[in-house]
């Protein structure tokens, strides 16, 4: 499992870790029951403090993405399909907004975008 953090990002490191693990859950790379590296192992591998990874895991646990068993480690929790669907819809919406913004920059009209979309959709 890759987790890549930036030390120069405005985003706090614990948040970067959190987001990346969540993304992997959404994309299906991490599945229910999968083991996560221990907090301390992850801290060492990423060159960050233990409290940073601890915070990321604690928040992921609170949000229901993972669960921990003392002495055994942390695991990916069962995901609610509704929640995942909701999240995926949000992602699609964000991407569509981006497409619309880019299209407007080029002066493409709504029918033109729709036509393009139809062609691509049917090709799939």
């Amino acid at each position: 499992m890759d987790i890549l953090i930036s030390n120069h990002s405005k985003e706090a490191i614990y948040n970067q870790i959190k987001y990346q693990i969540k993304e992997k859950v959404f994309s299906g790379e991490l599945k229910e029951g999968d083991t996560l590296p221990s907090m301390r192992q992850l801290a060492r591998d990423l060159h960050v403090s233990v409290i940073t990874t601890k915070r990321a895991y604690e928040e992921l646990e609170k949000e229901g993405f993972i669960y921990s068993i003392v002495g055994k480690g942390s695991f990916i929790a069962e995901q609610n399909p509704e929640v995942i669907k909701e999240k995926k819809l949000t992602t699609i919406e964000e991407k569509l907004i981006e497409v619309i913004a880019n299209s407007k920059e080029l002066g493409l009209s709504l029918p033109e975008i729709k036509e393009w979309m139809t062609i691509l959709y049917e090709e799939e």
Partner: protein, 291 residues
Amino acid sequence: MENVIELKNIYKSYKNFQIEDLSLQVKKGFVTGFIGANGAGKSTVMKLMMNLIRPDSGEVKMFGMDYSKHEKEIKKRIGFVFDDDILYKELTLHDMKKLIAPCYKQWQDSLFREYCDRLELPLNQKMNTFSKGMKMKASLVMALSHQPDLLIMDEPTAGLDPIVRRQFIELLQDVMLDEEKTIFLSTHIISDLAPIADFITFINSGEIVFSKALHEIEEKYAIVRGSLELLDRDTEQYFLSIKRTDVGFEALTSDYQQIKEVFQDEVIVEKANLEEIMYYSKGGQGNVAFD
């Protein structure tokens, strides 16, 4: 969270320096960075922790125990590393090991060899020919080989080149894989702390200014820059320390949110790093003028 070190209401006075009513705790399983200017009292506090000096009054508890009754038990669980030429010059690392290993029941020779290997330390070279970095590595290896639960280090990274410093930090992160271990280290090189420190304890003129999780400091403290016109008796209350120049003021706050609410877009607010916090705290609580 359990405390490995607990100092309570410590008083200790010297001719030119005193510690009054100092209390501090160090949490088990974490790395605590101890920062402060030269002469702020870092070494005195570390000597108190090592029982090298005794407080005039107050309580020092290590692993919940008292030095007066359990000195031996406490000492065998501590690895002490400090920035001083303690190594016997004419000896090789191998000789030194033969001298020190029998003092500790917990000494593990395989661990000692593994560390020497990893840090590329020669066993049969006289230690007076060691570079500064090698000496520091040797002293760390000695401290780690008896598998202490607590590492106390005084300026361990001072004067080390960036590569050795990095090896050093990596070694400490390996130690911290075990949640029973605790590290307490003082340093001037604050960037060394960023990747490993969980908590920061800041001492100034013999007083603990704060002892907090590093992320809490990063979230709350900020440097604020703005026009002098914004300062009056009321607004000055929001800052810990203010410096005025002809082109505006620069100030330190420990309440990022409040400043954002009070001044909104009229000032520039940037997260303060540890060096800035130290610098401004040294200037005292009042207003310090630039000339």
